[in-house]
């Protein structure tokens, strides 16, 4: 069998991955550097019987995507910095209403309009805290074009499995660079579909069986007439002001993430076994970190890499262990210090945590990361 090998951009791979996962609805608004995701979705979705719509603004983009998801379709929206800010209220809506949805943020230089064509990793904390109130968060960040494909599939799978919006945090580098990628054959990657109501059983829209955390989801039009709201609601889906109920419902939603850390958290370790210093990175910056490690090792400095693939929830247990193993952890990220605070929170002084980063639109170079490593050693 001939392999399906292609040269493509990260943004194109995102759409290929989405279609592989079963995406049948896309709604969004054009914004650099994510626009190719909309363009490719517009081209390909109708060829598989799916639907694409360019909405009037970013808020409408995510709103329509949620509407599409409620009819039973796997649904996605993509954006960049300013659009990610605009979508925040409805991200919270998707969380409390438990809507499976993939939200791609191809990060660019901010704040505000910032540097539209330049890379950044500036929405690490916004992904977690951008929408108001406490809520569960799942966010993934790819480093390569192939990984963009794989993590888009994974984002859909997790969204379906946990009935929650999943964020894919790529950046301008990963989104726009072209790499050779082998597209998996159908069936090669696991595809997860949301659980639907059990036939013959009374459907309780937000009810779960003892020990379960994720309610089954009926599609609008399938015969189960129910109510969806952004207000706190009880298991019937109707609004409830009860503090006892709000506490119970939020606790269940948080546990969807907190009780499934092993399923959710993915990371890669590169040359860490014999290393004397740990570089902590993710996304495009981890590419520079790998090169920095190769160069440092040529100079006799044994550096290794911890690369977070799942950004949220945080790989707390593993990072704690790393803090026991290493005296120094150098966090390399394309911002002025975001994920480093999470590392510090978890490490709690057990290792020295340093930061190397910038937010001027430039890429983080291997030389800059290597220089920081030498400085702290």
């Amino acid at each position: 069998m001939s392999k399906n090998i292609k040269l493509m951009q990260g943004n194109e791979a995102c759409v290929e991955g989405a279609l592989y996962a079963g995406m049948r609805f896309y709604a969004g608004y054009p914004i650099t550097p994510s626009t190719e995701i909309a363009e490719k979705s517009a081209e390909l979705l109708p060829t598989v019987g799916g639907k694409f719509i360019q909405m009037e603004d970013e808020i409408a983009g995510i709103a329509a995507a949620i509407g599409g998801a409620l009819t039973g379709k796997k649904s996605m929206t993509a954006t960049s910095g300013p659009g990610f800010s605009l979508k925040q209220e409805n991200i919270g809506y998707a969380m409390i209403a438990e809507i499976p949805l993939v939200i791609v943020n191809v990060q660019r230089g901010g704040p505000s309009t910032g540097l539209p064509t330049a890379p950044a990793q500036g929405e690490i904390m916004q992904a977690k805290w951008g929408t108001h109130g406490d809520h569960p968060v799942i966010a993934l960040s790819p480093s390569t074009v192939r990984e963009t494909f794989d993590l888009t599939v994974r984002a859909f799978n997790l969204a379906e499995k946990y009935r929650t919006p999943v964020m894919l945090l790529t950046d301008e580098i990963v989104g726009h660079m072209r790499e050779k990628i082998e597209i998996p054959e159908p069936g090669e990657l696991e595809i997860y579909n949301r659980l639907e109501p059990v036939e013959g059983e009374t459907y309780i829209p937000y009810g779960v069986r003892e020990g379960d955390l994720v309610p089954r989801m009926a599609a609008f039009g399938s015969g189960h007439r129910y109510h969806v709201t952004g207000l706190f609601h009880d298991e019937t889906g109707f609004p409830s002001n009860s503090t006892e109920n709000a506490g119970f419902m939020l606790d269940r939603m948080m546990k969807k993430v907190e009780d499934n850390l092993d399923d959710l958290i993915e990371y890669e370790e590169y040359m860490l076994d014999d290393a004397e210093v740990c570089i902590f990175s993710y996304g495009s910056s981890a590419r520079a970190a790998k090169t920095a490690i190769d160069q440092l090792r040529e100079e006799g400095i044994k550096a290794g890499l911890f690369r977070a693939i799942t950004i949220w929830p945080f790989a707390e247990k593993r990072v704690k262990a790393l803090a026991e193993q290493f005296d120094n952890i150098v966090v390399a990220e394309l911002n002025l210090g975001q994920y480093v605070y999470e590392v510090e929170r978890v490490v709690k002084g057990a290792a020295k945590v340093s930061h190397v980063g910038k937010a001027n639109g430039d890429v983080l170079t291997p030389a800059e990361i290597a220089a920081k490593v030498k400085e702290v050693l």
């Binding site: 009037e56 949620i66 599409g68 409805n90 399938s222």
Partner: protein, 272 residues
């Protein structure tokens, strides 16, 4: 003893509703249920979507697929529902603030696309849920809690706004003219394309009290006396139209291709 329409289409466990005594919203909600009954729609295939505000609580009481969204965004959510599953009859319930202030952009674009959604605006000329602030339809000179010295804004004509933006059906009625309103809603739902029915409602608690409009009954009597049908108005001399407001069907355009039909034709073309 209950009205059989109420028993058939309302979620009885969720009643009574939260609206104030004298509020006109219940009249519109019942008219919608009656219109759906007259059309013989399958309850499983009706989706009612709303935003935030007093009127937007209506879907919680109605026994369909119901979606209570974020402030102003009902039409954007509804657009996703309708495009993803065109076999659903999608009806949006929105208030004057929800539809024409925070949601104004979605209103004009849904109208422009001519997507098959019926929008019913419960226009009570005020923000009721937050306690009486002036809205885009509060008359110039009237009072609101945020217009304590008189409103200097000029009001929107929501039905005409939708018509100008491309809605292929646009009409206005009032909660006094309940039978006419019900027929309009029925026509709007049956219409292929974007349809708008603006219904002038009454808010005696905030708008009425703030502006000394008298009792709820007085406010409804005002609607009876002040609104004239656009067809009647055409034949009236100018002096008889002074101080009156227009209601009726402002626009009814057939044959404009509906949005989801246009999209389906792309899918069909690509199959060849």
């Amino acid at each position: 003893m209950n009205n059989p329409i109420v028993e058939k289409y309302f979620r009885m466990d969720n009643l009574p509703h939260i609206w104030c005594p004298g509020c006109g919203n219940g009249i519109i909600m019942l008219a919608l249920a009656k219109a759906i009954d007259s059309l013989g729609l399958d309850k499983d295939k009706v989706c009612v979507v709303s935003g935030i505000g007093c009127s937007s609580r209506a879907p919680g009481y109605l026994d369909f697929n119901t979606l209570h969204t974020t402030h102003g965004r009902a039409l954007a959510f509804a657009t996703g529902v309708k495009l993803a599953n065109p076999e659903l009859e999608v009806i949006v319930i929105s208030g004057d603030g929800d539809a024409s202030a925070i949601g104004g952009n979605h209103l004009i674009h849904a109208a422009r696309r001519n997507i098959g959604i019926t929008t019913i605006v419960f226009n009570n000329n005020i923000y009721g849920m937050t306690g009486g602030q002036y809205s885009p339809t509060t008359p110039n000179g009237d009072l609101g809690t945020t217009a304590p010295h008189g409103n200097i804004d000029r009001p929107f004509d929501i039905a005409q706004l939708a018509a100008a933006a491309g809605a292929t059906y646009a009409a206005r009625s009032t909660v006094y003219h309940a039978n006419q309103m019900e027929k309009m809603i029925e026509t709007a739902i049956a219409h292929k394309g974007f349809s708008m029915v603006e219904v002038i409602s009454t808010c005696p608690t905030y708008y009425g009290r703030k502006n000394k409009k008298g009792s709820a009954a007085n406010m409804i009597a005002f609607l009876k006396d002040s609104f004239i049908d656009v067809k009647v108005a055409e034949k009236l001399p100018e002096e008889k139209k002074a101080g009156k407001f227009l209601m009726g069907e402002f626009k009814k355009e057939e044959g404009v291709v509906e949005y989801t039909v246009a999209y389906e034709s792309i899918i069909e073309r690509l199959k060849k």
